[in-house]
Every structure is written in structure tokens, then in C-alpha cells.
């Protein structure tokens, strides 16, 4: 009988700090898609309420402890960091997405400048405040982006594209650092 060792999406990837920004690979976590069936909003809300999570409005995410509910589409959210409560079944299609996504945390004072090199959406704090979460491309990749702090975001992409995401972000940091160097 085999012993199956789980491998993290970012196994072996070290963090990078450059241009005043920190790029950190995130550990895999439970991710469940919760997609409401027509008319399922009320029932799903009742099941989620004890967790302290309301179903998020479009482009928002909510959290309670380690559990988050992140809007990802029409009547759809990702439950991250928690297992789905029993009882959702009739109200929503619940689908395991754990391990299918790879996330990074990017933070620091140059955050908006870094993101503006890859994401065609205004992610300055005024336009993308705390509590915001969007579906948007990171260059050519589909992503879920969450504002996690005044100068911090998380970016999640398909796991198979993790290397490309890292490469593109690292390149942005290199270039920002070179730009800073000639200013000084």
C-alpha cells in the first residue's frame, strides 16, 4: 500500500523581499466552492451564519477566525480555511477546490505599483479597499485577488500556473528595484 505524501503547491519556494515588497508563498488550505442554487440563498445563509460568515456581496470577502468566504462569481463564493458545514447540500453546489489553487501574499509600500504591472484593474487602496476581493487576470492568468491589509494582498491562481505567477511577480520586483536604484 502506498504512502501518499501531500505536496504543497509551493513546496521548496522561498520568500523574496525586494523593492520594499515582500512576496511570500502561502500554504495550501481548504478551499470549497459554494455555488448557490436558484433560491438557495436563504437556506445557505442559515447554515453559514453559525460560522460567523455571511454570504459576501460581489467583490467582497468576509472572515471569521481562519475561515473566509470570498466572492468568486454570481451567487458563488469560495470557503477558505474551513470545511463546509453540513446542510449546505440542497442550497448550494459544494465542490472541493483544495489544492487546486496556489496563493501568494504580496505586501509592502510599493504594492499598488507592483500590481499595476500585471493586473488591469485599479488596485490602489481607494479603489480596492480592505474587504475587497475580485476575479481578475494577472497578466494572462485568471486569479482571485483579496485585499488583506492596508498594504497587503493575496493572489490565488490555478495551481498548475504557480510557477508562471511566481516568475512574473519576481520579475516585477526586480524591475521596481532597478527603478528605485536610479532614482536614489
Amino acid at each position: 500500500m502506498p504512502e501518499l505524501i501531500a505536496k504543497q503547491a509551493w513546496a521548496g519556494q522561498a520568500s523574496v523581499t525586494k523593492a520594499g515588497l515582500s512576496l511570500v508563498p502561502l500554504e495550501d488550505r481548504a478551499i470549497w466552492s459554494v455555488a448557490l442554487f436558484p433560491g438557495g440563498a436563504e437556506a445557505a445563509g442559515a447554515v453559514l451564519a453559525p460560522l460567523g460568515l455571511g454570504f459576501p456581496q460581489p467583490n467582497r470577502w468576509v472572515s471569521a477566525g481562519a475561515a473566509r468566504l470570498v466572492w468568486t462569481g454570481r451567487d458563488q463564493a469560495f470557503l477558505m480555511g474551513a470545511e463546509p458545514p453540513a446542510g449546505l447540500a440542497g442550497a448550494a453546489a459544494v465542490t472541493d477546490q483544495s489544492g487546486g489553487w496556489a496563493g501568494v501574499a504580496l505586501s509592502g509600500p510599493g504594492l499598488a505599483q507592483a500590481l499595476a504591472r500585471l493586473v488591469p484593474v485599479d488596485l490602489t487602496p481607494a479603489a480596492f479597499p480592505e474587504g475587497a476581493a475580485i476575479r481578475a487576470p494577472v497578466n494572462h492568468m485568471s486569479a482571485v485577488i483579496l485585499r488583506t491589509g492596508a498594504e497587503a494582498v493575496e493572489i490565488w491562481v490555478f495551481r498548475s500556473m504557480a510557477r508562471t505567477l511566481w516568475h512574473e511577480l519576481a520579475e516585477v520586483l526586480d524591475r521596481l528595484e532597478a527603478r528605485i536604484a536610479i532614482k536614489g
Binding site: M1, L4, A35, A93, Q97, E168, R175, A178, R179
Partner: protein, 971 residues
Amino acid sequence: MRVEGKGIIDRSHPLRFTFDGKSYGGYRGDTLASALLANDVRLMGRSFKYHRPRGPLTAGSEEPNALVEIHGKTNQTPNVRATMLEVFDGLDVRSQNRMGTLKYDLLEVNDLLAPFLSAGFYYKTFMWPRAFWERVYEPVIRRAAGLGSLSGKHDEGVYEKAWAWCDLLVIGAGPTGLMAALTAARAGAQVILADENPLLGGRLVGDGGTLGGEPAAIWVAGVEAELRSMPNVRVMTRTTVTGAYDNGTFGALERVGLHRPARPNLPRECFWRIVAKRAVLGAGALERPIAFPDNDRPGILLTSAVRTYLNRFGVVPGRRVTIFDGSEAGRVLARELMAAGVQVAAIIDPRAEASGLEDCPVHLGAQVVGSRGRLGLRAITVRKGAETFEIETDCLAMSGGWNPSLHLTCHMNGRPRWSEDIMAFVPMEGAVPGLTAAGAAAGRFSTHAALGDGKAAATAALKDLGMAVPDLPLPAAEDAPYEPRALWDVGGEGRAWIDFANDVTTKDVRLAAKENYTSVEHMKRYTTQGMAPDQGKSSNVAALAVLADATGRSIADTGITTFRPPFVPVSIASMGAGGRGAGFAPQRFLTSDQASRDRGAPMIEAGLWYRPSYFPKPGETGWKEACDREVGWVRTAVGVADVSTLGKIDIQGRDAARFLDFVYTNTFSTLPVGRVRYGLMLREDGMVLDDGTTARLGENHFLMTTTTAAAGLVMRHLDFVHQAFCADWDLRFLSVTESWAQFAVAGPMARALLNATLDAPLGDLPFMGVTTVRVGGVEARLFRISFSGEEGYELAVPTRYGEALFRDLVGRAETMGGGPYGMEALNVLRIEKGFITHAEIHGRVTAFDIGMEKMVSAKKDCIGKAAAQRPGLTGPERQQLVGLKTHAPLTAGAHLFRPGAVVEPATDEGYVTSVCWSPTLNCWLALAFLADGRARHGEQIRLVDHLRDIDVTCEVTGPVFLDPDGGRMRA
């Protein structure tokens, strides 16, 4: 020559650069043009067609003449404007478009041949003998044409693209732009101020006047300091806004690292996409030259350019200056030059009455009608009434008036309007929604008007956005009325240049008119006026005026050609930043990627994924040997392949089965839980979209698989059908491709391998069954499906266990006389079984063509059913899927003919889609489409591949070569 006490170059930073191998000195803040002029070098280039000696005409990005090549360690950059290139230590610049040296260019012979090289001459000759065009004429023309050279080596430079958002984009940082930016900035708006120069100020820098009673530079510095201190303002220097696009999107090019030696990771350029709620175009205006014979010599510049060289760079392009200008601006320049100690030999003013000037002869009612000096101006000829005389001069400043820089207002098809008041085109209002032209760009030329206009434009924009705007006082500024000039062409016999860059003269325009190329577009295309690197910035109006004159129309009736993006040329590398190397599309890697690479497998691209082609063994000579071995493993023992790239869509809801019945041709509502069914999906036009298996995991829960290539396409299609036709159904679906790693285990020993792997022995899982199993304690899904024709399974585990499971399965397979197999073997296995891929379902085939018309249920509607019944898709002329078999090598892409038939289009009966050598059947196999093919099994057919010189006869068979009854799969 350099003038002491003038200019805002940094004299504390001297530097050295080379031009054509010779070393020169300059200062930080110099452009190549200013530094060379300071060194008394006026000759900087050769013209496009006649190879005339040329020096700078302007001091800006509109420069038509002084184009040079920059040579770096690994590359070279052609067609760089000497007027925009900031010099730095070690800069290596060379002149271009010459055969020989810049001074002795052999192609100057073209200038002597000019009578035979008039507009459009090439349309009238080089036609005989016919074969000479590609062999003789064209190569000669091509070699003579062109300007600078690319190196032919990969551009290894670093480039960048970025986005920016703002309430107000201010284009140009002259008086208009500064005032607009300041107004908006103080209102608290998000402001971007972009200017293509390294310094803010625009003409305030070049003209060096006063503002609010102080030197303009002080006012500029004050505004700049304030803007730079504000968090809501981004000042972007060296940034040219290049294009206006829909819904407030602008393109802009930032020259990030071009003004300094290269540095690792530092972008050379950055292409910006700026999204602005409102924009102010404060791009100023461009001065026009005057057409007179031989007006293109080095040393002949625009008045504003001479002024800029003097005030910004402390340089005069000569020692004895003359001025050909019908406005007070000429007087101002003369005074400035004389104040700086430069001799002004004369002012030639075409007006009959105008002011004089102390210490300087002014020739009223006079025109410059000629010039002399082979490599640079030595004298001009002046005509005054009946009298002509020569004046010795090495620098002529000329001005034919000004054109508003309205180019961006044309990018969305805006048509400029001719204004008789200023004898120039002015922007059409509202041509770019949200953008307002202001100041000189709108045809209001005085500094006072520019400041007021900038403020007003910003105020209006901010009010639109609902923002409160402070009332800023305007600094006192010059407010002289503009003196419109309409002297385009002094006439005369010689060649008078209009379009310096493309060597178009007034004669060319008149010839075009004579030959009835009288539409402005015809004239432009026939003469090539306006199609050179400067896009006709300085030639456009003069050309129209000459055409208007030649055709007896007004300029307004003659019209104007359209300015297209970009405003200044933009490198392909900057707009294509990120495409180099592997950046064109994301790379997708399997969980087994490293394990496959560890085994030496070459990886090939498939639908953005990288998949192993084959797994080589020591001693094997190539892919074919490995492939045959891997096929053998699957046929006789067991093989393992990663099939995770197949699209997987999780479908749930009470209406899930109903939905599948609608999108598939066959029925899924009757599929029992725990079973899998092959499904065929059509486009609405009746052609096959994709195929795959769908498993029923629960009463209201299905898992659909798609091909790798069509995964995204199918998802989009399902989303459309769902949202457009049944959004209210109890149905949700989602891609789970990334959540599962899935491995095919196939071969007679597949079950044995699984029994050794799974936590509990595999019970009686029927063919086309699905069940939940555990492996290493992990819950997994096991499908009994086969793409090889052998007893086959696909085992799926959560992605994080993929690599471990792959290594384990492969290890176990190897102990059983099998191992991993790659794409090559997978392809052979499926051809032997007659399974189709997108080589067969290439978008032009119906279910009927591939012999699956029985899978189109008669009992229900489905997507594509109606259109598939069109007569042209069901007739006997349709080509049907068949197999071909022979012992000689076959090639995909070959065509099929009846043996003995003449090979011609009319006898072409089909083509081959897939071929392989079958190690199982010891022959070559092919899948092909053949007219009426199903009725022709057993016939001989001739296969012709002209490209690879193959001509063989094959036997037509059914597409399933191996085990047509499927006994092995069901074993």
C-alpha cells in the same frame, strides 16, 4: 557653438560620447543634437530618397532629419531622434542610411537622378522584363530604401508594461498642462501629468520668457515642486502619450532607461495603459517650415528650434544667423541671439509692413528663395521685389506659423476643422470623449491664453466629476495676439521640400495633382507625404496648401489626412513586453512534471500544459523505439500515464441530467449512478465541438471530462447555454481540472497493479463504471474507462497527492514489466483503436462524418441538432472517417485518390488526419476522411503526399483496427 550664460544644462557634469567613432563632449541635459551643434557638427543624417545631407530641423520628437543609430554591446537601435536622445557617458551613436561615410555618401547620386525619381515614378517603370522585378529591381530598391538597420540579433533589452488610473490625465507640461494639473491637484483629484521631455515647462523652457514678473523657469520649478509633493499627483517625465483609445484609455511610452547606460533589470522603456476619467490635451503646437528651393540644408531650422537650442541648451547652430519669419517671434529670437552675443545677419520678413529692429537689417516684403552649401548652409538667396541677393549665413531660422498638436484628437476618427483665423487646423471638440484640447493645442497660442485654458479645462473636467475646484490666480504672462501666416511655398524653379523625412517636394505634390491624384488621400499615398517617421507632423498643412493651390480648391475643401496612433513611434518591444521567451502564455505544469523530467522525458506543449512525449531508456536510439516499447507495455503488461490535463467539470443540481441531455447529442438522464458514458457535444452549427466521458457520481451530481485542447471552449459554451437558455434551472457547475490529479492505468495487468495500490482490492467494477476508492488512506475516484483499448482505469486523487501517486504507480508498473507512457504512445494506442482526437474533430466534421450519427438522439432536442440536418452536411459527397492500412510509411496530411486516377483537384477524395506505425499490428495505420468512406471498406486507395514524396496504395478499413468488438476493454 556653445553660448556662455545660456541654457539649463548641467555644466558641472561634462560627459563624452562618440558620433561615427569620433569623441565629443557635452553636458548632462544635452540632447545629441544640442551637443553636436555645440561642437559645430550640423550634418547628422542623410535623407530617405535623395540621400541629401541633413541636420536637425527641430528640437523635439517631431524631428524629420536627424535620425541616428545607437550602438550598444549586444544590439543597436535605429532611427533615434538626435533631438530627443539625451547624451550620457559612453554613448555610441552612428549615422545611418548612407553608403560610405556621412560626408561622402555614394547614394547621393540619387539626388542627381532626381528628375527621374519624381512622385510615383516606380509605378510607371521596372515592369520589363517580368522576372527582373524580384531578381534585380526590387533588391536594388530595397537596399537603397529604409533608414537605419536592425542588428538581426534578439533584442535582449528589458521592457515593461504597466497600468495607471486617474481622474485627470494632463498631456503635456507646458503652461497649459501645468496650470491644468495644478488646478486639479489642488482640488484633490487623482492627477497624472505626462510630458515627453525630461523637464517640465514645455515652451516656457524653450522660450525662456517671464511669468508673474519672474523668469518662467522659477514659476515652473515652483509648480513642479508642489505637484511632486502631493500624493494625489503623479508626474511622468520622458513619457509621451501615444494614443487615445475607447472609454478613457490612453497609451503612453515612458523612456525609463534610455538616457543612461544600461543597468541590469532596468527597463529601457515602459508602455503605460492609462485609464483616465477625463483628460486635458496640452500638447502645445508644432512650428511649420516654409518651402523654398533647397530649404533642407543642415543649418536651416525652425525659429522655435533655434530658440530652444539657445535657451534650453545654450547652443546656437551657427555663428551668423538669419531669420525668415513673418511674425514678431522672429524679432524676439533676433533680440535674444544678439543679447547672447550672436550675430544676426538679417531678418527676411515676407510682410510688406512690419517693425524694424535695431542693430539688425530687416528685409520687408522679402522671401528666401534659395540656399547654398553642400554639407551645411553657407548662404541664402533672398528675393525682394525684382531684386535677388545673397546673404552669407550658416544658420537660418524659419517659421511658417504653427499647427496645434491635435494628433490625439484624431485617434478616434475626429476630423480637425480648418480655421482661417490662425491658418491652421484646430481640433474637433468631443472627438475623444472626455478629452479637451487646451492652449496652443486648441489654437490659442499666447502664454496667457494657455494658462487660462489649462485652468478652465481642468475646472470643467472636475466639475463633470462632481469635484469642488479652487479658483487659482493666473500668473501674469505674455498675451500677444497670434499673427497667422500663410506662406507655405515661395515658388520658384528648384526643389522645395515639404516632407523632409520622405523627400517630398512641392513639385511632387503638383505632379500628383496633375495626374489626378487629387483626393488628399491619393496625394498622400502617391507622393508618400506624411508616411515617414514623423507622420507628416511638419509637412501636413503645407502639402495640403500646395495641393489646394494646384487643384483650385480651398484648404478646408481639400481636407486633411487622418493622424493615427501612435503620436510618436513606439518600439515593438515595449508594447510587446513580456512576450519574449516563455512569457507569451502561462505555462501549466502537471503534478508529475518533475517525475517525468527525472526520467528524461522530453516535454511538449499541449493546451498550455507540458506533457511527456516519451520516456527514453538507455540504449534507445530515438522516440520511435521508446514509443513502440511503451505501446507494448500497455498491450502486454501495464502502462501509467498522467491524464490530468483533460478538462474536468463538476455538475450538480436537480436539473443537471436535463442540462447534459441538452448539451450532448446522446442521453444522460438515463445513466445510472456509478456509471460513465461517452458523450458527443456539438456546436450550434452542427459540427462536433468535443467529446469525452461523463460520470454520474450521484443522482444530481455528474463529472464531465473534456479534451485538453477544448477545456476552456467547452466551459464557455456550457456557461452560455446555461445562462442564455436555462438560467433558472437547478444547476451549477465548476471546473475541477486543477483539483484532481488523474492517471490512466491501462493494460492486461492494470487490475493487478490497482489491487496492489489501492487500500482495498478492486471489486467488480464494470467497464464504464465509477467508484470511490482509497489509496494510502486518501479518498480517490476510480473510473473504468479506456483510451487505449485495453482494460483501463483512471485513478484520480486530490492534486496534492498527484506526484506521490504517479511515482508510486510507475514504480509498481515497472516491477510488473510495464512503466510510464507518454503522448507518443498514447497517440499510437488510440489510433490502433480508432479513437478520435481534435485531429479528426477539427471543426468541419459532423457526427455523421465520424460515424456517430446514431448518437444523436431522435427523442430530444440538443444543441446543434437542427443545423446538422442541413442537406450539405448529410449527403454522399461528405467525407467519412475510415481506417487505412499498409506496410509502407504513411503521412498525415496526405490526400487520397482512386488508384489509377489522374491526381487533380477533381479526383481528390479525402485526406489523412492521423498516422502511426503500429507495433501491435506490425503495419502502418492511418485515420482518414474519404468520400463515401463507410461504403468502401476493403477497397484500395492511393495516398499521395507531394510534400514528402510519398505515393502508396492502402487498404480502406473501418477506423477501429484492434479488437473491434472491444473484448479487451471489457475483460
